[in-house]
Subunit: 405 residues, 2 copies
């Protein structure tokens, strides 16, 4: 038995003119899953908890985010291809522009000129025995990793998340000497990086062209690489992830999953999700558990665009679920279709509303024949917590452990 | 967005001649909420847990009573207007009557004559550096507070809750020196109070008139003021309580809510609940979160009176829910209607049965069009725990915090 978990990011919604996007969309393949499977609703992290995509995915994979989550930094770093060690402290970072001591642009004008070269100038720093790893990602983005003994993620961020102000000094958030030390190292790096960037010929060129200099590194999203069992250690199952979103790829890498990259996928509403479906179907040959993540549904939700969300759902139905139903060995595969959280269009942000859930496989079917938030709420699974989903998937896949005799 | 939480104490019930009181009552306004909102059932403290009104309200406000609750004493004391400090140990107390060393009446004949003067005679005592605060409440009732260092609520009660026996000596319930000390102080107070009361001219007058003397103070419901975050600290929301029940007012005061007193309300089935609705509606102008508590439903339940409970529910529908629907800004207010526990008429006491729940606001509506225990069980919320309700309310009010990124 194989398992395929399909997560459409932010798919859950509330009512717009009396209907959710899932209710408005034509999704015959999802409806087939609902009709032949068992449905329910799910609080991915907890009832009444408004989850991020990182905490919700940890929970969907059976890890308790209240115990293991400290911040998005390590997942961003992993997603950017940085191999982390236990105890590493990681941040999201931005190239930003400073003038007369004030932040004038938090993204250095979104101008990438010379950023690759500037990144090289920031390599190899070390303060008080703590190594600083700096890796540029797309655009103005980067990740910053502190590696050394006795670090802590209880430190404040240097990014004030506004312009017209001075950058923040990082401060320890508790009295632990580790936090004091970590804040000190981050401040030393920030200071040193500023000196280097200010002097760099790259920035002189940018300024000569009338561009903003990229003369500051701002850090936020501090987190520590969690000390957790890998997915395979925990469940005895080899797992692969198909995603185009670095945060989600990072969560999967932290759990030791193999991440399959699909060059045609971009995480947006125009992503080539058919190629992702192909990759997931193929991965089922080699892996017991395949996780397929689709981001476009969340993007349309954050834009508050009902038509775009509905269209994206119809694309998922046609280009992802359809091929999966046609090409996967349905007799020997558990297929789960759900979301990591709701992102109601009217809010344009995550909410605590439960998500719809359908499990297709060797299940007790129910009367639900349409896949949506409100129809799934009438299904045979009732209302479950995301952290318990893996147990159900493993059990249906014949891979759960007996507790007791 | 504002939030209005309406709790009808003990509203949930079992079947009497095939119907619950909510099913038998005509409640068109509650039914409107159910039709336009989302319904479910709720275990206020936990599935299969039979809650008190104090523990259930703590849970409804999002606090875990298994962690923070030690006894009703501090809530009674707060409700009686005693300002408590962290570490205070509080008891409910009664004036009682002792003859030849035996308790002959636990309520001093329910005769209030001179009790106010007797209370004055009990002021200002101190034993081993522990101050004793004594405050008379309605009738024969009082609250007793021990204030000092190193106190504990692990002590037995002096009230044996029966007559024809001697009063109990308080004993430490564990080996902690704090418990030993607390029991000692309580016993010293009880002894000293007995001496003072016995000698008092008030009691000589009572006896001369053929009345029972009020010559003993019995203590029970020991609890310690919990060391918890206030509601506002925890949720960033200013909250007000409208209740006529001292225990519930006490819980709200312990959480730092503003308590709005309605002089016309008395907590009984003949209370002027319309005035309470007025106060709650008005409070929504000033507060983000308003809690409205109606006690009469529980009173009718403890009396085992089906007709009285049904009539009270119809009064709530007409005099509370109706005006709220007419006068509250429904587009910008989440309205929650529920109970703190079930009090089945046949039992005349609290039960572990879940309570009906309806949330009206920006919700995924369901097919429920009648507000009752059994119809709500078919609603879109399914079955939730009371401790998670605040998360849902805050989320619908746009005041929940994102957990993760």
């Amino acid at each position: 038995m194989k398992s395929l978990l399909i997560v459409c990011d932010g798919m859950g919604d509330r009512l717009t003119n009396g209907k959710t996007p899932l209710e408005a969309a034509k999704t015959p393949n999802m409806d087939y899953l609902a009709k032949e499977g068992i449905c329910g609703i799910m609080d991915t992290v907890g009832t009444g908890v408004r989850p991020g995509s990182d905490t919700s995915h940890l929970s969907l994979f059976g890890y308790n985010p209240f115990e293991v989550y400290t911040g998005r930094g390590p997942f961003e770093a992993r997603g950017a291809g940085v191999e982390l060690k236990k105890g590493d402290v990681a941040f999201r970072a931005n190239f930003a522009s400073l003038r007369n001591g004030m932040i004038v642009d938090r993204r250095a004008g979104r101008d990438e000129e010379g950023l690759e070269d500037l990144s090289k100038e920031l390599q190899g720093m070390e303060f008080d025995g703590v190594k600083v790893l700096f890796k540029r990602c797309k655009g103005h983005r980067a990740v910053l990793v502190l590696r050394g003994k006795d670090l802590s993620c209880a430190v404040s961020e240097t990014d004030p998340e506004e312009v017209g102000v001075v950058p923040n000094k990082s401060k320890p958030l508790d009295k632990d000497p580790k936090s004091v030390r970590t804040a000190l190292v981050l401040n030393k790096f920030t200071e040193k990086a500023r000196e280097i960037l200010d002097k760099s010929s790259v920035n002189k060129k940018r300024i000569a062209k009338g561009k903003l200099p990229a003369n500051l590194v701002l850090a936020r999203g501090c987190g520590m690489e969690p000390n957790i069992q890998s997915f395979e250690e925990r469940y005895g199952v080899k797992a692969a992830c198909v995603s185009a979103t670095s945060l989600i790829m990072g969560v999967c890498k932290s759990l030791g999953m193999d991440v399959i990259e699909v060059p045609e996928a971009n995480g947006h509403v125009d992503s080539n999700i058919g190629k992702k479906a192909d990759a997931a179907i193929k991965a089922l040959d080699k892996y017991d558990f395949v996780f397929l993540h689709i981001k476009g549904t969340d993007e349309a939700s954050h834009d508050g665009n009902f038509a775009a969300k509905t269209a994206m759902l119809e694309r998922v139905d046609k280009e992802v679920i359809g091929p999966i139903l046609n090409r996967v060995d349905l007799k020997n595969t558990t297929i789960v279709l759900t979301a990591d959280h709701s992102t109601p269009l009217r809010l344009k942000q995550h909410s605590a509303d439960p998500v719809p859930l359908c499990i297709f496989g060797d299940v007790r079917t129910d009367d639900v024949s349409k896949y949506s938030e409100r129809t799934c709420a009438k299904g045979g699974l009732l209302r479950i917590c995301g952290r318990n989903l893996m147990g159900i998937i493993l059990d249906l896949g014949g891979k759960s452990k007996l507790f007791g005799a």
